[in-house]
């Protein structure tokens, strides 16, 4: 019984430590903002990809309702349009700023950290104000927020914050270039790249000791961006910039899965911001130039060799027709040994891509990989994944078959 009493006591202590905060709401809310400030906020909103979590499929922009699946349950993106009753129309800047940096809503309740305030806390006052100006000038939408199905009482979030939320603005590194610092500010802050690309602990917090070592999101693996980067051809600033801008980089990848929304957002931001992000991100890979060069050469050699190889019935029939043609050829697709999906620790991304393809948004131009849903049996899929893994020059994935069966059961 003792442990129970202790737990109860601990809970009380935690709850006391994590009590809610006061309501903000007496300041008047401005109606108009300078044009330049709104424009700046628009760019920042794209960098932060606010749209993605706050817009439901087919729903009104920023009106919320998006289901976000977390290990703790489904949380729905909230209405952040300036509707006074159902959105944040009654929020003064102070409340908005507190939510962004401290994870507390206007009424003083803790926000679940699926809203990445652990990143946004780094934002400058100017940027928070610009985002506020942008959000408050959107079309107000009357739409009630959906109830979350997370069995965690909000006060516990306070406890979480006390351990994992470090409220500090970005501190520039004077030893680095202005561009690198700009990139670091964006990547670590608003763009919250680590939210997906850094692994999380059992309480859902990013493991700072393993920053950018690769994470999980919505069933997809977000590849490592640090020295453990699985990209067969190491990323260069130019390749990464192109990828973030267009969602496709020659000899690398087409963005897929949850990254698609990110590249859609980034397709609208300035080149200066994209370059800065690319500069900082590429710098996370600490391998020597020599190591990177060798890795790249090995990958290219594998790619060259792969186009002549036949030997797997599924690959020869379903994949080789495009992937062995060479990208430069009409209808040619990426030589697969260059694909990151082959070199990450799990076959899941590759399985999703083979099943569902990569298809641009309706009306957009873009790279197109057709989906093979229904065409391959689980056994054939397993066989193909195993074959491709070897084609990527990697040791076999463990238990591909059961992963394939699990994915087959998921609702498409």
């Amino acid at each position: 019984m003792a442990w129970r009493a202790a737990a109860a006591l601990a809970t009380v202590v935690i709850l006391a430590a994590c009590a809610s905060r006061e309501t903000i709401g007496l300041d008047p809310v401005p109606k108009t903002f300078p044009r330049e400030q709104v424009a700046k906020g628009a760019e920042l909103a794209h960098l932060g990809n606010c749209l993605s979590c706050h817009t439901a499929e087919g729903g009104k922009p920023y009106a919320g309702g998006t289901p976000l699946k977390t290990p703790f349950g489904t949380i729905y993106g909230t209405n952040i349009t300036p509707d006074a009753e159902t959105g944040i129309g009654a929020w003064p800047l102070a409340a908005f700023s507190r939510a962004m940096r401290e994870g507390v809503d206007r009424e003083g309740r803790h926000l679940y950290p699926v809203f990445p305030y652990d990143h946004f806390t780094k934002l400058t006052d100017d940027d928070v104000a610009a985002l506020y100006a942008f959000i408050m000038t959107r079309e107000p939408v009357r739409q009630e927020n959906r109830r979350n199905s997370v069995p965690i009482p909000r006060p516990l979030v306070g406890f979480w914050k006390s351990r994992y939320l470090e409220q500090v603005r970005y501190q520039p590194d004077p030893a680095r270039s202005a561009e690198w610092n700009r990139g670091a500010y964006l990547v670590e802050g608003l763009a919250h790249c680590g939210a997906c690309h850094t692994p999380r602990n059992s309480l859902g917090a990013e493991r700072k000791d393993q920053a950018f070592a690769g994470g999980e999101v919505e069933g997809w693996h977000a590849p490592a961006l640090n020295s453990a980067s699985p990209s067969p051809l190491p990323w260069t600033v130019e390749a990464l910039r192109a990828y973030l801008r267009h969602g496709i980089a020659d000899r690398h990848a087409i963005s897929a899965g949850p990254m698609v929304d990110v590249t859609h957002g980034l397709s609208e931001v300035s080149d200066e911001a994209l370059r800065a992000i690319a500069v900082y991100t590429v710098s996370l890979d600490k391998r020597s130039d020599d190591e990177r060069r060798r890795a790249g050469e090995a990958a290219l050699a594998r790619a060259r060799a792969s186009v002549a190889v036949k030997g797997n019935a599924v690959y020869d029939g379903a994949c080789a027709d495009c992937h062995n043609r060479g990208r430069a050829q009409e209808g040619g697709a990426l030589e697969l040994p260059l694909g990151t999906a082959l070199t990450i620790p799990t076959p899941r991304n590759l399985a999703y891509i083979i099943r569902d393809g990569i298809v641009p948004r309706e009306g957009d131009r873009g790279g197109w990989m057709p989906g093979y849903a229904g065409a391959l049996t689980d056994e054939q899929m397993t066989d193909l994944l195993t074959y491709l893994r070897a084609l990527g020059g990697q040791p076999a994935w463990r238990d591909v078959a059961s992963e394939v069966r699990r994915i087959a059961k998921e609702q498409r």
């Binding site: 424009a39 922009p61 920023y62 043609r325 009306g363 197109w368």
Partner: protein, 718 residues
């Protein structure tokens, strides 16, 4: 089609049938082919065969012609065989284009069938020795009042119908088949896997070929090692200059061999494609043709606008296909091109045969919507078949062949100026349209892609503006409204940066989009309701009828605007002398996302007497949805050398998620009135209505097509 051009392409037959100038004009295409038995024959077994020089393109023309013949001959549709465009059997009706098939061919069959019926009755009257007025024709028989009967088959001999048509026909007033929504005769095969297309034609010993197309316009084949492919069993490589093709017994083998060859081929490519296409078009030399001469006086306020339309594709879902067989010095081609006789002339020149040695037979293809790759692939098949005498050769284009090589609907610019008088009506109108030609149809061997690539290349026909009243770039450029003074100039641009030709509606889509957009801009300036503004400047009661009907069924008067939504209206009479169409539309716009969706469409159509009302609805529905796709999504892309929109990933079109929630078409039937045609009536009004609805929803007028996500985002961010 103009008479002069017709004579050029037609050859000797037409001259023989040409009527003296004093003769009264016969109805429809009877005027060119006045012999009744050019249009229909009755066999001794009573089976009736109807001939039309027009082709089924999925528009339902077969069914409509059968309905017309069936009604006038008082026989069941099932007892009629229909032969469509075939140079060995049917009249030369030029191209199946311009929404002219009902006006030309169905009108000819209507009158020929009515006259044939009267001849059969007259013959029976002789046999029964009774007055013709006492006889009735029904069910393939002529019946006397007292119940005696004689079948049509027993009444005819070779000469009965071998007579010239009379100027006047006694048209049957019954409406047992005409005016009914008879199910289309071609649909059952299409939904059950019957052989419905030239793509499905399988001849004994048929070979499959693929063409290794150059990577860009004007590219020349420098070298290619064809050795390995030539050694593959059953594979033949055909090369003539820059024309390179590979033939195999198996289609997949041909496809793979084509890819191998393509990977090895070395080309000389000119880098000359212009980047800013509208600036380029505006600078190119024009031939200015004033098509409406009134000198407008601009009293009061003057308004100006300019609109642009990009190159747009026909984008057939099935890439072009043809089968050709060269045997005993004669060539037979099965093709889904729109004009078998014109194709015959071009192919004969290409392969160096007299036209009499070439037969072109139409078979259906995927919907073409104008001049796409169908003629070109027939040229390819002819060249390849000539190299392999005795073997039928089937050629199908790959997706990238179609996307990169089909002739596009031309990019266009329109500029206009108008004044409003004190009562808010248009006081003067000055309109100019800048465009390439809208027809590079064959014609000549040089109008086929293969003709440009063979060693001894053929020159393409010189581009020319198509004359009014149908027009080309200037089709529908003259407003149908009763403006006091309108000046309209067709700035014809001979030089063609990209390959272009006829796309459904030709210039009408762009001109109607422009005029109807500008009309709304003017209505807004005049503080007038857009529908009322149009009505008060239109005299033609049939125009007013379609506008009123569409507005009423849409609920125009009671419409309440909601945030993010808007309504738009547009009207045109196609070619200013064909079908009347009005379209009302409601859209929803998500400014933040650059998302434009059509929610609801109501259209009214008057194409004269409605032979098949459901067929008309099908055409108008399709025209509207296709126009929504053009207007919302479509534009070709290229770099300085190559076309880059080479498949659907580079040339997105509408998918099911952008199909309106509802789409109603109301047909105004005008029994006894001439057939006006339907296929191209809706595209212009649909584009205009969409533009106007977008402007109403957002308060922002967008004058450049298409209204895709990128443009909307750019516009609303500004």
């Amino acid at each position: 089609m103009k008479r002069r051009a017709f004579l050029q392409s037609g050859g000797a037959l037409i001259v023989a049938f040409a009527l003296p100038a004093w003769a009264q004009k016969l109805p429809g295409a009877l005027d060119r082919y006045p012999q009744l038995d050019a249009w229909l024959r009755v066999g001794a077994d009573g089976r009736i065969t109807v001939f039309t020089g027009k082709a089924e393109l999925g528009q339902g023309i077969k069914t409509a012609i059968l309905q017309v013949a069936s009604e006038q001959l008082a026989v069941d549709m099932k007892s009629i065989d229909l032969v469509t465009a075939d140079t060995a059997q049917t009249p030369n009706e030029g191209y199946t284009a311009g929404s002219n098939s009902m006006k030309d061919s169905a009108t000819a069959v209507l009158n020929a069938a009515a006259q044939a019926r009267e001849l059969l009755i007259a013959e029976a009257a002789k046999r029964f020795a009774v007055a013709a007025e006492t006889l009735t024709a029904q069910g393939g028989e002529v019946r006397t009042a007292d119940g005696r009967r004689v079948s049509y088959g027993a009444l005819v001999d070779g000469k009965t119908l071998s007579v010239k048509a009379a100027p006047q026909s006694k048209l049957s007033r019954t409406r047992n088949v005409m005016g009914k929504s008879v199910p289309r005769v071609d649909i059952p095969a299409k939904v059950t896997g019957g052989a419905a297309y030239v793509h499905d034609l399988r001849l004994p010993d048929m070979l499959h070929a693929r063409v290794v197309r150059p990577p860009s316009y004007g590219a020349r084949l420098k070298s290619v090692d064809t050795e390995p492919e030539s050694k593959m069993p059953g594979v033949t490589v055909v090369r003539d200059g820059s024309f390179l093709a590979v033939v195999a017994g198996r289609e997949w083998v041909a496809v793979q061999a084509m890819r191998e060859l393509r990977a090895k081929a070395v080309w000389d490519e000119p880098r000359k494609l212009p980047q800013d296409i509208y600036a380029t078009l505006a600078k190119l030399r024009t031939e200015d043709i004033v098509i409406a001469e009134a000198q407008p006086a601009f009293g009061g306020k003057v308004f100006e606008a300019a609109y642009t339309r990009p190159y747009q594709l026909h984008g057939a879902i099935g890439p072009a296909c043809a089968v050709a067989r060269y045997e005993n010095g004669a060539l037979t081609i099965w093709s889904h091109a729109q004009g078998m006789y014109p194709l015959r002339g071009a192919v004969a020149e290409l392969v160096g045969l007299p036209v009499e040695r070439v037969r072109c037979i139409h078979m259906e293809g995927a919907g073409c919507y104008g001049h796409n790759g169908a003629d070109d692939v027939a040229g390819d098949a002819a060249l390849i078949a000539r190299a392999l005498p005795g073997k039928p050769v089937r050629v199908q284009w790959m997706r990238e062949d179609e996307h990169a090589w089909e002739p596009y609907g031309p990019a266009m610019i329109t500029r206009m100026r108008a004044g409003l008088d004190g009562s808010g009506n248009v006081s003067g109108w000055d309109y100019g349209v800048w465009s390439n030609t809208h027809s590079t149809r064959p014609g000549r061997a040089g109008d086929l892609v293969a003709g440009l690539h063979v060693e001894k290349a053929f020159p393409p026909s010189p581009p020319r503006p198509l004359p009014l009243p149908d027009g080309g770039g200037d089709r529908n450029a003259i407003p149908y409204y009763k403006f006091p003074a309108a000046r309209v100039t067709n700035h014809f641009i001979p030089e063609m940066p990209l390959r272009v030709s006829a796309l459904r509606g030709l210039g009408a889509y762009m001109n109607v989009f422009s005029i109807e957009s500008f009309m709304d801009e003017l209505a807004a300036a005049a503080k007038a309701d857009p529908v009322e503004f149009r009505l008060r400047q239109l005299d033609d009661p049939r125009a007013r009828d379609v506008i009123r009907l569409a507005a009423e069924r849409f609920g125009w008067a009671a419409y309440r605007k909601e945030n993010g939504r808007g309504r738009g209206f547009a009207f045109a009479r196609y070619k200013n002398h064909a079908g009347y169409c009005a379209v009302a539309m409601e859209v929803q716009v998500e400014r933040e996302l650059g998302e434009l969706r059509v929610l609801r469409v109501v259209a009214a159509i008057d194409s004269g007497e409605a032979v098949n009302p459901d067929g008309i609805k099908n055409q108008i529905e399709g025209g509207i949805i296709q126009s929504i796709s053009w207007t919302t999504f479509e534009s070709a892309t290229w770099n300085d050398t190559r076309i880059t929109s080479r498949d659907w990933s580079g040339y997105p079109i509408l998918r099911f998620s952008h199909v309106p929630q509802s789409l109603e078409v109301h047909v105004i039937d005008r029994p006894g009135e001439p057939f006006l045609g339907t296929g191209e009536a809706a595209q212009g009004p649909a584009g205009g209505a969409l533009a106007n609805a977008l402007a109403h929803a957002t308060g922002v007028r967008i004058r450049d097509l298409p209204f895709n996500r990128a443009r909307l985002k750019r516009t609303f961010a500004a």
